[in-house]
């Protein structure tokens, strides 16, 4: 049945070469943990991606209940965590995943660094990786404000003060992020929400696409 459906589409659109190109390639021996156990270090990139998928999925589901409004934000998070079935688990996935994704990304970066895998011809992928790192930190920073509790508010206060210390553009940057020169309030929350769920995930998907296309094109770096 499935085979028939596949054949029907394939006959018309010739999709086999497309997915072959994406999925069907050899895994070299030196990156296969079945051959050398130490090759598990090659898993961290994939694990970063896996957790990013969890973040995107759990985030989409959280925003079914969450409202980015200073009166209702805290109540809506409280409600989705305590009164919606599996709320603790879905929020927990997003909450713990946010930290875990940073850990995985960091381990992946360490592997690339210590193996020298960033060297020619892979310099550009290192640059894209650093941009992904920045976007991830941005997601963590903007997401942290969303529950609108005391911890969220004061962490953001501190983060914005840090932004303000940037030479020359600091004060303008802070106002741009907070939506107001002095208040951290209604406008800050809606901005952070928009950045957290639209702008940064969009940038992240684009960067990850570039990251993976380059890997596909250049192949994984050779054994040490």
């Amino acid at each position: 049945m499935l085979q028939k459906m596949y054949d029907w589409v394939d006959e018309r659109l010739d999709i086999t070469p497309m997915w072959r190109d994406i999925a069907d390639h050899e895994v070299p021996e030196h990156v296969n943990p079945a051959h050398h156990f130490s090759a598990f270090v090659y898993c961290f990139g994939g694990l970063t991606f896996f957790i990013t998928v969890i973040q995107i999925l759990s985030g989409m589901f959280l925003s079914m209940y969450y409202v980015p409004d200073i009166i209702n934000a805290y109540e809506s998070v409280y409600y989705l965590q305590n009164e919606v079935a599996f709320g603790v688990i879905v929020r927990g996935m997003h909450h713990w995943g946010a930290s875990l994704v940073i850990v995985m990304m960091f381990l992946h970066t360490l592997r690339v660094f210590f193996q020298g895998a960033y060297k020619k011809p892979r310099e550009l992928n290192w640059v894209v990786g650093v941009m992904i790192f920045g976007v991830m930190l941005g997601l963590g920073f903007t997401g942290y404000l969303l529950p609108w509790d005391m911890k969220a508010l004061f962490a953001t206060k501190v983060g914005l003060e840090i932004a303000q210390t940037v030479p020359v553009i600091g004060p303008a940057l802070k106002t741009l992020l907070a939506g107001d020169a002095t208040i951290i309030g209604a406008q800050t929350l809606t901005r952070f929400f928009a950045i957290h769920v639209f702008f940064l995930p969009g940038a992240l998907l684009g960067l990850m696409g570039a990251h993976f296309i380059m890997i596909r094109k250049q192949g994984i770096s050779g054994p040490l």
Partner: protein, 165 residues
């Protein structure tokens, strides 16, 4: 020696990978899906009986009375106003009808159509109902108006949830 229905190494690996992958995907998606469908799994909130009007004020002609109920909408609690068409029927029993049209939910009014002075009339698509709420054949609504659960205590009419007749 491979027999015809032996499982090849490739097939075996495909099955285990699909199985393990499917199990992991399910473990990830199940909580999220249950989370998303929570509104259809939750029981509707029970509605308290609310005092609406003195029984002595109820006439044979339907009158519209409003009353406030506590509504809990997720994390948002508020008071909302509801309306009822209330009258005494021939036996002196009190009838309290919901004004919500059973066609597509507009609000009906008593005797609002000059051509039908003894009927409820819905302005949206011309739905009409008898005084007892029965829908009139040939007009859009397919069911009679809902009736409120009612109770008389200390000379006052209390109304609860509106239920289908």
């Amino acid at each position: 020696m491979a027999k015809k229905d032996d499982v090849s190494r490739r097939q075996f690996l495909n099955y285990t990978l699909t199985g393990v992958g499917g199990f992991m995907a399910a473990g990830m998606l199940l909580p999220m899906v249950r989370f998303a469908i929570d509104p259809i799994m939750k029981e509707g909130a029970k509605q308290d009986m609310v005092p609406v009007v003195e029984v002595s004020k109820v006439t044979e002609k339907p009158q519209r009375f409003t009353f406030e109920i506590e509504q809990k909408d997720g994390w948002y609690e508020s008071k909302v106003t509801q309306a009822a068409w209330v009258y005494k029927d021939k036996n002196g029993d009190i009838v309290a009808l919901s004004p919500i049209c059973k066609h597509l939910g507009c609000t009906v009014d008593w005797a609002a159509s000059p051509a039908h002075p003894n009927q409820f009339y819905c302005p949206c698509h011309g739905g009409r109902y008898e005084k007892d709420g029965t829908n009139i054949k040939g007009t859009p609504p397919l069911a009679p108006l809902d009736v409120y659960k009612k109770e008389v205590k200390d000379g006052k009419l209390y109304l609860g949830q509106a239920v289908p007749q």
